[in-house]
């Protein structure tokens, strides 16, 4: 067992580096032998660094990773792609400890062959205990991101939670604006009060005003009793106005007055209602552009835009696609009570090269589809949703990126036929059928052929989707 030199180019001592990681961590060499460990790993495994160095990592970690013959380590070394998965280890007190393993390749230069692996073991026993004690398994606050851009977002979130200023969250559809807003609320001083979410684009203006600010009995036809409104419900808490860019101008004035005066009149009301509410707004549009077009009030824009978070689209989050695929595979396997499946190399290549215009929502739907459709332990290329192939690009080549983030000042353009806000597989299927029919000039036989379906199957699907 020869000792490896502990320094990497730049003369950084690996153990100094590992000491800064708040979880048990180790660096492995190309043979998956331990090169360096941090004190947290010593505590978790019970092996002091002097004993552990030079030993094949699995002997020290005692994990249940699917790592027979070191194939998981080898996969990380060969592909350079990080892997994250939940499992457990047996610690030195003979206790089984649930752990989230993250394995990342270490390279000396960009795009060069990996020369080692960084293994981080996050003790998730607390998280699992909490998940078991809550009805919904804390699904709503599950924000995953290891990329630099998401780490930047996570870094500013605590700062935003500690202030009371309005926040504007921008980002494409499906990037997790709601989850970020809720996480900020929960970690703020207002966390124990209500978090009220309302979609400004989902309701007609009259109804939206009543929903937001409430009404008094008799204010309009159908107003048979007093209604407090969302702002009142969110008193002392946070109101999350999603799709703020769709809010009608007259209501924008009223919202501005609430932000300025912390008071408003209910519809038909004569007395001022006072509220203490923090406003978090989100939009997938460019509010700046809307201001220029006169569709959004400039004063409200500045009032909301005190603090801003921009959520990067998934295609710009290096490495996160792989993490999210692993995460959702495990999650759905657990929910459906199935054995955890894995993607074949070919399927994975396609999934990693896809551009995900619907971002995490789309990725989650794809994984859900695969887990439901595939009965084998290995999800292969043919188990993936067919629309991925329709827009498949060359192997290893990224799909053309959709328009730049909207916060950067452009109108959203969902690529034709790809899933967008609120869309699911049914919507995607409908779009695919419509596209095929359009291409085939209404000829169902040709459309069915193009889609790889039988003519009667296409007809049945069209009936189900109200297309016939």
């Amino acid at each position: 067992m020869s000792r490896k030199p502990l320094a990497v180019p730049g003369e950084v001592f690996l153990e100094d580096l590992l000491a800064g990681i708040p979880h048990a961590s180790a660096v492995l060499d190309e043979g998956a032998r331990i090169v360096a460990v941090n004190p947290l790993l010593e505590v978790l495994t019970g092996y002091r660094r002097d004993s552990a160095i030079g030993v094949y990592a699995e002997f020290i970690l005692r994990s249940n990773l699917p790592n027979g013959r070191g194939q998981l380590f080898q996969r990380v070394l060969d592909s350079g792609e990080p892997v994250s998965m939940d499992g457990d280890i047996i610690d030195r007190s003979r206790m089984r400890v649930p752990v989230r393993f993250t394995l990342s390749a270490l390279r000396l230069r960009r795009n060069s062959q990996a020369v080692g692996i960084l293994v981080v073991l996050e003790d998730i026993s607390q998280l699992q205990a909490k998940a078991k004690s809550t009805l919904f398994g804390d699904w709503t606050t599950d924000i995953i991101g290891h990329s630099k851009k998401m780490q930047d977002v996570f870094n500013v979130m605590p700062l935003m939670a500690h202030t009371d200023a309005s926040i504007l969250i921008t980002g494409e559809t499906g990037t997790g604006k709601d989850k970020i807003a809720e996480a900020i609320h929960r970690n703020s001083a207002r966390g124990k009060f209500q978090f009220v979410k309302i979609n400004c684009g989902a309701l007609p203006p009259e109804l939206l005003e009543s929903e937001l600010f409430g009404h008094v009995k008799g204010a309009f036809t159908g107003a048979v009793r007093d209604k407090p409104g969302m702002f009142k419900l969110a008193d002392k808490g946070t109101i999350f106005l999603t799709e703020i860019g769709d809010m009608p101008l007259p209501l924008q004035v009223k919202l501005l007055s609430v932000l300025d005066d912390r008071s408003y009149f209910r519809v038909g009301g004569e007395t001022k209602e006072r509220v203490d509410v923090r406003v978090i707004a989100a939009t997938h549009r460019s509010l700046r552009e809307q201001v220029d077009r006169g569709a959004f009030r400039e004063d409200l824009f500045y009032r909301l835009n005190v603090l801003q978070i921009h959520l990067p689209p998934l295609r710009e989050r290096d490495g996160d696609i792989r993490f999210l695929l692993d995460h959702f595979l495990g999650d759905y396997a657990e929910r459906l009570g199935k054995e955890r499946q894995t993607f074949s190399a070919e399927a994975l290549e396609l999934l990693l090269a896809y551009s995900y215009p619907g971002n995490i929502r789309e990725l989650r739907n794809i994984v859900e589809y695969c887990v439901n459709v595939c009965g084998k332990s290995l999800i292969d290329r043919e188990d993936l949703p067919r629309y991925l192939f329709a827009r498949e690009v060359g192997v290893g080549q990224r799909a053309p990126a959709p328009p730049a983030p909207l916060a950067a000042g452009r109108e959203p353009r969902e690529p034709k036929g790809e899933p967008g806000e609120g869309e699911n597989w049914r919507t995607v299927e409908r779009e695919m059928i419509l596209d095929a029919l359009r291409d085939a000039r209404g000829n169902r036989s040709k459309a069915a052929q193009q889609l790889g379906l039988g003519r009667s199957t296409l007809w049945r699907k069209m009936r189900q989707l109200n297309l016939a």
């Binding site: 067992m1 043979g31 998956a32 032998r33 019970g46 092996y47 004993s51 030993v55 094949y56 699995e58 002997f59 020290i60 970690l61 005692r62 249940n64 027979g68 013959r69 070191g70 280890i89 047996i90 610690d91 030195r92 007190s93 003979r94 206790m95 089984r96």
Partner: protein
């Protein structure tokens, strides 16, 4: 005296609950009688492994990490457990027969390629 070593290839399996192989050796006064035999189970199962230990009248179990409940079960059945052993099972057996094997020992690894 019969000795069971949990195995994964040439090595002691790193976990009792994940071991799908076991090597059983019989010794008399520190000397092996006959060649150790290897038993391959259809799947890893700590319960089946514990049953095998009972059925084979094993006196000593040499293994890697083991959960407390399995450890306690074996102790309760008066079986000696030497756990957290890292290394080749043949070396572990030799050491045990010489009376030099202790829980937590990391044995000299004779092979350059440590991949399982």
């Amino acid at each position: 005296m019969k000795i069971l070593l949990t195995a994964q290839g040439d090595y002691i399996a790193q976990r009792f609950d994940l071991a799908a192989e076991a090597v059983i050796a019989t010794a008399d006064n520190g000397v092996l009688s006959g060649r150790p035999r290897t038993i391959i189970m259809d799947r890893p199962s700590p319960e089946n492994l514990s049953n095998m230990v009972m059925e084979e009248n094993i006196a000593v179990v040499i293994c890697g990490g083991i959960e407390e409940r399995h450890y306690q079960f074996l102790q309760w059945k008066k079986i000696r457990v030497i756990d957290y052993i890292i290394g080749e099972h043949s070396v572990a057996l030799e050491r045990f027969l010489r009376g030099e094997l202790h829980p937590g020992d990391i044995l000299p690894l004779s092979r350059a390629n440590l991949s399982l």
